[in-house]
Symmetry: C2
Subunit: 244 residues, 2 copies
DNA sequence: CGCAAATTTGAACGTAGTCAACAAGTGTGG
DNA sequence: CCACACTTGTTGACTACGTTCAAATTTGCG
């Protein structure tokens, strides 16, 4: 039985009380396995519950009516899924498994109970939401104002660094788990151009590739070309109320 | 004395108890006037407080190191400002007044108190955060996957519709309050191209312009070319706990 | 092994960017 | 109150980054 991913995530920021830890673990009591490619939620589907991603990798995207797709974010273990169920009756985005994954669904009412009984966790969740919001605006800035090469570099860095946080074996070399088309749909490029940019990064010795695995050969240069900002630094959760 | 903008905003979604209303009003006790152009917070500035925007219009943006700018969002009365202070010690973005504005600063500790004493408000704030997150991903999709004309159309619609929510006099005609360069920095375009797109929208009779004021002449067609989705519909806050 | 999906490459094209010049506003100080 | 400076808006000509289309090749899954 895997520990509680979400409790672990929050535990990175605050020292949880036993009661808090317990409450968080209860969110992950039920498990649901998803095969690669499984759609957890389709755009406009009625939604009522949230999920914790426990294992695997997922993504959310929207389809425009000319058929093109914008990938909004990649989801890794410890992330909350479908938080928009807290406002919307129907999903604003499609959520699908990129790899075989495991999620734990919980009711919105569980979130309500959490707010009432554990206000500090409510604050921590707000803080996590903000981190995600900043990541999303970083992507907006990349898509709106940087070159194709910079965008591809930044997505490699982002996924590598996020994977590294819960999997220490990731250290410069990792399995991206995305097709070039998916990289394109995340960065606002075509698959063809993503291919050219990857080749260019490889030719310049910034990365290496071998059947799906990517090695970051020159992280410093990659960060420079990507305009990368580390958003895991400079955290300050000191304002949170006492834990219960 | 202007009422409490933030209490009014939340009141659109839940019927506040007297105690809740009171607690929200206390966030807006201090007022601070900002002249157009005033920088409230610079990227990387140390930050400790949040703000409610009470009057005027502001925006947040980031600068990339080639000097280009990406505007992340426009802020209108009732919006919270600098919520990222809940996670970061230093601001990830610059926040500046686009028009003469009024803000009410409050400490992060006031947010902590709110969480503890009024859990339902914590939930409502999470819900508002999600609405903003979805607005931001809509913009990402626009910048990543739609034409220049669509992006310009969508920003006109977005600002018009948001202004309309607290100013009933806005009805098809409004003062945008943005330079074409700012429209460009929000949509990932150059000012020159924004100009061309505005002219095109005007030539096609979708909009009209006269010294800064914009009239939406054909909202339906505009929504079609912009791929516009109304995110104020289909709300469901039914999960929130009891008010105190 | 066989087939579909994904990757790779080339060539032609087009949307949006760049550069430049001018016009129209806007605000300021003499 | 006007003159001047500066910002903003407008238009044209040229350029370039990334797209489109097409075809060959490789990969990986059933």
């Amino acid at each position: 039985m895997p520990g509680s991913c979400f409790a672990e995530r929050i535990g990175e920021f605050v020292a949880l009380t036993a009661a808090e830890d317990d409450a968080l673990r209860r969110l992950e009591e039920r498990d649901r396995a998803l095969k690669r490619g499984t759609v957890l939620l389709r755009e406009n589907d009625r939604m009522g519950e949230l999920f914790v991603l426990k294992r695997g990798m997922m993504m959310s995207y929207v389809l425009l009516d000319d058929g093109s797709r914008q990938i909004l974010c990649f989801l890794l273990p410890g992330d909350l899924i479908a938080v928009s169920a807290l406002v919307y009756a129907r999903s604003p985005e499609t959520i699908v498994a990129l790899a075989d994954s495991m999620v734990s669904p919980f009711e919105r009412s569980a979130m309500a109970r959490l707010l009432v009984e554990h206000p500090r966790i409510a604050g921590a969740i707000m803080a996590l939401d903000q981190m995600e919001r900043v990541a999303s605006t970083d992507r907006l800035a990349a898509v709106g104002r940087t070159s194709a090469k910079a965008r591809v570099a930044s997505i490699l860095l982002e996924i590598h660094n996020r994977m590294q946080r819960f999997d220490a074996s990731v250290n410069g070399t990792f399995t991206l788990g995305l097709t070039q088309e998916e990289i394109g749909d995340a960065t606002g490029l075509t698959a063809v151009h993503v291919n050219r940019m990857l080749r260019q990064l490889e030719d310049e010795a910034l990365i290496a590739r071998e059947n799906g695995r990517v090695t970051l050969r020159n992280v410093a240069a990659l960060m420079r070309t990507a305009n990368y900002v580390d958003r895991f630094e400079g955290l300050d959760l000191g304002w949170l109320p006492e834990g219960r």
